[in-house]
Symmetry: C2
Subunit: 337 residues, 2 copies
């Protein structure tokens, strides 16, 4: 059995409040009595734990990170960056994969509050914002990462998704594409919506239409869904020559669809992904992808939490970092005729 | 400010021990007084937290997972599986990326103990086993996953790495390869050692030698190191026709090296990876890889922790699951002449 503060109190014949005072070096206790209690703690191998100090309202040195899926390489990279920066400051990280499902978000948030985490970083989509109310009413510093939620008073660290979508469109337009389609994520994912908005506005600005049925939404298993939806797009008589995918997983699905249908990439079809994960460098051909500064984003999110813990107020409400287009082998001029 | 048990005690004019008794429904307190204290808790929005019950020696419903790197897709998949199975039972998961560095392992283990986690799952290599002593002396249920450590009394869930190495060797021998080399991980990683042992013994059993300098060790950035070491192997006058890589990241490095040197895979070089992560399905060509049953392993590790928490003893010391070879485009008959 693990030794608790109660065991120490019982052994010393004092209240747990007294033991707590000894641990925290407070209270009016004679030096002799203090020494005695400390010897009992040592004898019982009692470690004044983070838990004990958390009970007195002190910090738990724990952060919670909500993301759609830790096995999605983009979020694994975000998590690693948050973990490392947290670790620099003595914080550890609880991982919460939500699958973008509100009931999982709700459950995890309640759990993290019960655990008295010092801060929460949310990088997941939420459909019904009301489920965030208990968190908003609490005093737990909260940061949004790689996600935007209008109407919530939360500090946000994200990449300029609109600009990212614009970059993808400009690149494909410069190559000469005129028939462009999109693989989108669930519409409740704000980053995906913004990417498409940037993509579409750039097309429209160049007098090119993006028909509604050429924006295909994919949920859940993104590689599988991406493949399915890309196949449907590529099997039409009039088919797109370029495909903008709102993340690399969807782009991989599209690459697989093209391969199965004998559509050559980039000769017959250009594909542009988003996130520039490790996956983009290993596909066949390597994937042109819009890069997010994952490391800076994770670092900044932790720094903002720590700032909030110190000052009780957040400074800048939004920190928008710039994306970058990494051009690789999956995009090229459309084939003539 | 978050309401603490101290605020409730002050407001009610009682000790925190009394408040704790009310929370836990224990102690000799009049029903009237109990009701009064509960109303104060409600008025102050005090939530009797997991933290409060942890102090009394109860569970924190938190598990710790030590892995080399959460941004390595294999470990991200393990983490997701552990997270999901833990979540089923109400546990949340603290992620600890160790980079296989003893000082990080030591620091994280001490942190997890301070946080009174209910169980620890270790999937990271350790050089100096003495750093595990404080953990071994504690009563925290601990499971090794995807790793083996001889001489430690710890329940272990792993894949049969020796058999996995054997499978890779048999596959390449059956294809007709006679000049085979290996990209290994840090020798302190037991799984890598076992894979190589299985690989080598199968070669030797067929009368084929595995020269010492054809086993190249890679540390830290595995893709980069894998590429570097594969290049060195491929630039020799007498070069291998097949390369067994102890994980998919190393195999990706090898694929990149081959591409840069104009060595065609699989025509001039067969490559076999290990872990069968999402990466194996997206490379060019797709990677033949030995598959680990990641989902079952994560699930089993959590189940064993829960069993230990209930029964205070672990049942079977080792659970060895079977690997499977997934043959894809990166392995073929060696070119004649």
């Amino acid at each position: 059995m693990k030794t608790t503060i109660y065991d120490v109190a019982r052994e010393a014949g004092v209240s747990i409040a007294t033991v707590s005072q000894v641990i925290n070096g407070k209270g009016k206790i004679s030096e002799e009595r203090r020494q005695e209690i400390m010897q009992i703690m040592e004898r019982l191998s009692y470690q004044p734990s983070v838990i004990a100090s958390a009970l007195t309202g002190k910090k738990t040195y724990t952060l919670g990170l909500l993301i759609p899926d830790i096995s999605n390489p983009f979020f694994a990279e975000v998590a690693r960056s948050v973990e490392d920066q947290g670790n620099q400051h003595g914080y550890s990280l609880i991982i919460c994969s939500t699958d973008n499902k509100d009931e999982r978000v709700e459950r995890y948030l309640s759990l993290l509050q019960q655990k008295s985490v010092d801060g929460i970083i949310i990088g997941t989509g939420v459909e019904n914002k009301e489920i965030l109310n208990p968190l908003m009413e609490s005093s737990i510093p909260t940061i949004l990462i790689a996600r935007d939620m209008a109407g919530l008073d939360l500090q946000t660290v994200l990449v300029d998704d609109f600009a990212g979508g614009t970059m993808a469109a400009q690149h494909l337009l410069e190559l000469g594409h005129q028939a462009l389609a999109v693989l989108a994520e669930d519409p409740k994912v704000s980053s995906s919506r913004e990417r498409i908005r940037g993509f579409k506005e750039t097309l429209v600005g160049s007098g090119i239409d993006l028909p509604g049925h050429w924006v295909q939404t994919c949920k859940d298993d993104l590689v599988k869904e991406g493949k399915l939806k890309a196949k449907a797009l590529l099997q039409q008589t009039q088919r797109p020559t370029a495909l903008f995918c709102c993340n690399d997983l969807l782009a991989i699905g599209a690459l697989q669809a093209a391969k199965e249908l004998g559509v050559k990439v980039p000769r017959d079809l250009s594909i542009v992904g988003f996130d520039n994960t490790i996956l983009a460098t290993v596909t066949d051909p390597p994937l042109t992808s819009v890069s997010q500064p994952t490391e800076s984003m994770g670092k900044l999110a932790v720094d903002l939490i720590i700032e909030q813990l110190k000052t009780k107020v957040g400074s800048t409400p939004r920190r928008v970092l710039s994306p970058e287009l990494c051009i690789r082998g999956s995009s090229a001029k459309p084939q003539q005729g």
